[in-house]
């Protein structure tokens, strides 16, 4: 191949590498900074140390503040609650919207789309009053419910899309075989869209795990209900110089479970893009 042709084939790769470089460097710095006493730019200047990870043993903010383990548990609770609720409710709603003909179906679909695009931040104050009235302010359940509410339109729309791709014949066959509508949904359709559900579960879990605004708004700052992102924010005070090493260490700590989750579910997710079964679909 001529040089020109070589450049032409390499061009997409070059563009991709350049685009990813900043992100990659960011993660690179995260790693380096967590293990060094000091960094200048991207490179470690001081010694390699594990002292930033002391937060694993004792809380750096004083005894009234929860330990990292309590905070992690809270985050995990919220993320799991979100995942399970969003997936289950979306699966039921998506099926109804895809298959059943009920009055108000079209308006409901439009509503779902509008809500998905809605800037939810504008509702924060209103939600505060609702939570307080229900006695759910500063509780894990309160935070979880709000997050579920914001994630739901996306979940419903996604699931409806997956249900639309399942052939009607398979359902008809199951109905004739003797299944009730609910049995068709649980025993036949859901197993068929497992990759779709896994994708939604992953998005919901990550969304819950990384959430900052909602937990920050609806829990009292240094309370027992803090999540990892709120915990992290406490490092960035205005009176003391920011200890970036500690910040990145906690950041790395927050990153690890998601990375593991992703590694294990990646194969399952990729099968969404692969073909369906041979013949009958």
């Amino acid at each position: 191949m001529t040089l020109r042709k070589r450049l032409w084939t390499a061009a997409p790769y070059i563009v991709l590498v350049i685009s990813i470089l900043p992100i990659f460097l960011g993660y690179f710095w995260l790693l380096i900074s967590s293990f060094s006493t000091q960094t200048e730019g991207l490179l470690p200047v001081g010694n390699l140390t594990l002292e930033h990870f002391s937060f694993l043993r004792e809380t750096p903010f004083g005894t009234s503040y929860p330990s990292i383990w309590r905070v992690t548990f809270n985050t995990f609770l919220i993320a799991s609650f979100m995942t399970i609720t969003v997936v289950m409710v979306s699966a039921l709603a998506g099926y109804a919207l895809s298959r059943l003909n009920f009055p108000g179906r079209k308006p409901f679909l439009s509503l779902t789309l509008i809500l998905h695009a809605f800037p939810s931040v504008t509702l924060l104050i209103g939600i505060f009053f609702v939570l307080r009235a229900l006695g759910l302010y500063n509780t894990i359940l309160g935070v979880g419910l709000v997050m579920v509410g914001f994630e739901m339109p996306f979940g419903i729309w996604l699931m409806k899309g997956f249900f639309d791709n399942v052939s009607w014949d398979m359902e008809r066959a199951a109905l004739i075989d003797g299944a009730t509508r609910l049995q068709v949904w649980w025993q036949i359709i859901l197993p068929t869209i497992k990759p779709g559900m896994a994708a939604l579960a992953l998005f919901s879990f990550i969304s819950g795990w990384n959430a900052w605004l909602i937990p920050r708004t609806f829990t009292i700052g240094a309370g027992q209900q803090a999540t990892l992102s709120v915990y992290l924010q406490n490092f960035q005070g205005e009176t003391v110089a920011v200890d970036w090493g500690a910040v990145t260490a906690v950041g790395l700590f927050q990153l690890i479970p998601v990375a593991i989750f992703f590694i294990f579910t990646q194969d399952l997710l990729l099968s969404i893009y692969a073909g369906g079964s041979k013949g009958g679909v």
Binding site: S167, D169, M170, R172, A173, A174, L175, I176, D177, G178, A179, T180, Q183, I188, P191, T192, G276, S277, K278, G279, G280, V281
Partner: protein, 357 residues
């Protein structure tokens, strides 16, 4: 189980899918719904299955009105064009699914599923998933699943359309043989008139939601009631041309563009003096002879056993089946004889047969 459809209608807003169809199916009979795509035959089938609710009319299974009965309570089995197997279940689980839903004990489930699978010739594939089966095997699993609950009525929705030609032939006779052996009333939907002719006890010809004819294959073939039936049934399709029939010298003659021939009295008397009518004659009823109407060979399609010859008489094309040994070539001039004792005549406007109504 016998099935009676009375004035069955299905409408979606202004669109009429099924238009007042009246049919009765005897117990153990094999009925074929035949028609082109979009004519309403699958819609009718799905109404019988209970998937669609009719807009008007009634359906009776053995004198019991089943309009509002759910599919699972109708005691039916159905085979789909796409097989509709459950991809996440093995062959055994697919076949035994209807039994699982009625909470049949495990041992009985196993026995019956194996029995049906052996009958379908797939007893050795019980542990495979549908994705690892060929099209023909998948179809057999689908059929097994429909049969395992010993239904009173079997429904087929173009089950052989996705199979290759060879397999279609063998599956066709196998389905028919099975149906005769088990004696289950069956409704079979297809657009393939060869399937209809070879398998049906009676054929219901449907077009645009309306029932055009409901008769034995022989009747439908030899005595088509409408132009649509004559055109649709028979391969290669019937030839049509406009003629005028008149009486002269004690015999009936049909005269059209470039041709004139004698028509037997029993047909001629029904058609004479009616102005321009449409005459139909099947390719196998047009013969090359030493004397007759002059025609020119326009094209030849070798079919192996016969040659399908495109003949031109004046500007009108006629297809006929010729013996390959005649070695016809494009441009040859031959003489044609029409076997008018097999001819059909239709009214130009109503498209109804002038002979059989």
């Amino acid at each position: 189980m016998k099935v009676v459809l009375e004035n069955l209608t299905k409408r979606w807003g202004d669109v009429v899918g099924v238009d007042a169809i009246n049919l009765d199916i005897k117990d153990g009979e094999f009925v074929v719904f035949l028609g082109p795509s979009g004519c309403g035959k699958t819609t009718t089938l799905l109404i019988v299955a209970g998937i669609y609710k009719p807009t008007g009319g009634t359906i009776r299974f053995d004198d019991r009105v089943v309009n509002q009965v759910a599919p699972k309570d109708r005691n039916i089995g159905m085979v789909f064009q796409s097989y509709a197997l459950y991809p996440h279940m093995t062959v055994f689980q697919n076949i035994s699914y209807p039994l699982k839903l009625t909470k049949t004990p495990k041992a009985e489930m196993q026995e019956r599923a194996q029995q049906v699978a052996d009958m379908m010739g797939i007893g050795h594939l019980m542990d495979r998933k549908p994705a690892n089966l060929s099209g023909g095997q998948q179809q057999r699993v689908a059929l097994g699943r429909a049969l395992v609950k010993e239904p009173g009525l079997l429904l087929f929705d173009e089950p052989l359309s996705n199979l290759d030609a060879r397999l279609r032939l063998s599956m066709r006779s196998e389905i028919k043989r099975l149906q005769v052996e088990l004696g289950i009333t069956s409704i079979y939907v297809t657009h393939d008139q060869v399937e209809a002719m070879t398998m049906a006890d009676r054929i219901a010809v449907i077009c645009d939601g309306q029932l055009h004819a409901y008769d034995t294959p022989a009747e439908v073939y030899d005595r088509p009631r409408t132009l649509f039936i004559a055109r649709f049934v028979g391969n290669p399709p019937m030839n049509f041309t406009e003629v005028e029939v008149f009486q002269a010298n004690g015999a009936y003659h049909a005269r059209g563009e470039g041709l004139e021939m004698v028509v037997p009295a029993d047909r001629g008397e029904k058609v004479a003096g009616k102005g321009k009518v449409i005459m139909g004659i099947r390719p196998e009823d047009v013969i090359i002879a030493s004397e007759g109407i002059p025609g020119e060979v326009h094209g030849i399609e070798p079919l192996g056993r016969d040659h399908l010859v495109d003949m031109k008489i004046e500007d009108i094309h006629f297809y006929l089946l010729a013996d390959p040994s005649l070695s016809l070539k494009s441009g040859d001039r031959v003489k044609l004889v029409f076997k008018t004792e097999k001819s059909q005549f239709f009214d130009k406007k109503s498209e109804r047969s002038l002979l059989w109504n």
